[in-house]
């Protein structure tokens, strides 16, 4: 398969998931389009490096890095804007959504950037812990650990005790009394 044919197939498969990835991180319009386009442009330039079997996690990793850079730029821009305004809170990103989704999203937003991202990757983007590991550049065990801890902190924000949040699974006893050991 020649590179262009392969890239067209990757584009076909990845365009919608990457658009949703951008949307899940609050990007819309040209900002979202820029993120998707830059990710796919890198994929096209590095088509020989793209994993043949599972390109999506690799693409998510690229998008993740681009997005983090974008967030840093946006924070700098917001800081600059705040210097010109009497009320810096104007540029803040408060989510005015009401109801349960709003409460959940607000609780999510109160977590650290790292916790938010691992939860978004799993719950919103549908990635497995193994795929999350590719995106975050860690081992699958570490990815599971990060997910576990982030989920626990989200529950704490919502006032949910560990014992009430998990579904009972027959034949398994859930034990949240200690954290798994993180493998770096």
């Amino acid at each position: 398969m020649d590179p262009e044919t392969r890239f067209r197939a990757v584009f076909e498969a990845a365009y919608a998931p990457l658009c949703r990835y951008a949307r899940h991180r609050g990007l819309t319009g040209p900002d979202a389009e820029d993120l998707v386009a830059q990710t796919l442009e890198i994929a096209w330039r590095r088509i020989d490096d793209l994993p043949a079997a599972e390109p999506l996690p690799w693409l998510y990793a690229v998008a993740h890095n681009l997005w983090r850079n974008q967030v840093r730029r946006e924070r700098r821009r917001r800081d600059l804007l705040a210097r010109f305004m009497a009320s810096p809170s104007v540029a803040a990103c408060a989510d005015p959504a009401a109801g349960e989704p709003g409460v959940l999203r607000a609780a999510l937003a109160s977590l650290s950037d790292a916790d938010q991202e691992v939860l978004r990757l799993v719950a919103w983007d549908g990635l497995s812990p193994a795929d999350v590991a590719v995106v975050l550049g860690c081992t699958p065990v570490a990815a599971r650990t990060r997910l576990h801890r982030a989920r626990r902190r989200l529950a704490a924000r919502l006032g949910i005790s560990p014992g009430t949040q998990r579904r009972a699974r027959s034949g398994h006893k859930q034990d949240d009394s200690h954290d798994p050991v993180e493998v770096p």
Binding site: R8, Y15, A37, M85
Partner: protein, 308 residues
């Protein structure tokens, strides 16, 4: 996708933003993006680089319309006047821009920041609408609260990009910069990989908006004694909304004035209001001299500007 093994993650998944969002790789937007990416690969000059393009005008946003600012100067032509169609205005304005493409566009812009300083910008762009390969000269003279701050000329070769972008993936790759810094009483002339572009002061910005046809014709008005046609459009930049009102001459269809307001969506708070006046100057030797920043007596030359 993995099965979510607890209620919390399931609830979180249900709370994802815009669950009905269904982007498609078959959409026209996706097809255009694919074509752009494939084209960029064939043309190495369009690859991503890590250089800086400095945009004049408002930082990261175009200014927008404070109707109150100009309300006193604009009067309706009355109910008897007919409102031109978007299509007819689009054609006439683009024809006017085509006629003016080799001229100099001189703009003066006043920016009022919310409870902040008043920034005044004078800009000269030549030619008004450059074609790829053509040399562009752009001068920007900025003052704050009436005090000169910086006077810069940027000379570069127009590339194949559509002209206006804040991305570093397109645009000219280097420029000759003449920069006069009033605070330090210094000036410099250097070749730089940081390029000062006209940004929101560029007449191309208006041309692109008009060409898109995504504007509304509000009607005919009298603007400072001249018959004008009033147009408006809005755009969003994240949580900022920029609304522009543009008046074009009813006879020549050249731009006369634009007023832009930038508002924060959250509280509909006015952040900036910018008023811009447009003047089309023929490219005579005397007018071309205006593109070079004068060096005030007593200013010291330095090797480079701290800004480029």
């Amino acid at each position: 996708m993995i099965p979510l093994d607890d209620d919390l993650l399931a609830a979180l998944r249900a709370a994802r933003p815009d669950p009905g969002y269904q982007p498609s790789a078959d959409s026209p937007e996706a097809a255009a993006m694919l074509a752009r990416i494939l084209r960029a690969r064939r043309d190495p000059a369009r690859r991503m680089t890590r250089r800086r393009l400095v945009l004049a005008g408002l930082p990261a946003m175009a200014g927008v319309a404070a109707a109150a600012v100009v309300g006193a100067a604009v009067t309706s032509s009355g109910p008897g006047s007919t409102r031109p169609t978007v299509s007819s205005v689009r054609t006439a304005v683009l024809d006017a821009f085509e006629r003016d493409s080799g001229d100099i566009v001189y703009t003066t812009r006043t920016i009022q920041w919310s409870r902040g300083p008043v920034t005044t910008q004078q800009a000269w762009t030549y030619p008004a609408f450059p074609v790829p390969g053509q040399q562009v000269r752009f001068r920007l003279f900025q003052s704050q609260n009436g005090v000169p701050v910086e006077d810069t000329e940027s000379i570069y070769i127009q590339d194949n990009s559509s002209g206006l972008t804040q991305s570093t993936t397109a645009g000219p790759r280097s420029a000759e910069i003449i920069d006069v810094e009033y605070a330090t009483r210094t000036w410099s002339r250097q070749q730089s990989s940081s390029v000062l572009l006209a940004g929101s002061l560029s007449p191309s910005l208006i041309r692109d908006e008009i060409a898109s046809g995504r504007f509304t014709v509000l009607g005919r008005v009298s603007l400072a004694g001249r018959q004008a046609i009033e147009l408006t459009w809005s755009s969003s930049l994240g949580r900022l909304t920029v609304t522009t009102t543009l008046w074009v001459d009813a006879q020549t269809y050249q731009p006369l004035r634009s007023v832009a307001t930038t508002r924060a969506a959250l509280h509909d708070l006015l952040i900036t209001a910018a008023t811009t006046e447009y003047h089309i100057l023929p490219a005579t030797p005397a007018n071309l001299d205006l593109l070079s920043p004068p060096i005030p007596a007593g200013f010291t030359r330095t090797a480079s500007s701290p800004h480029f």
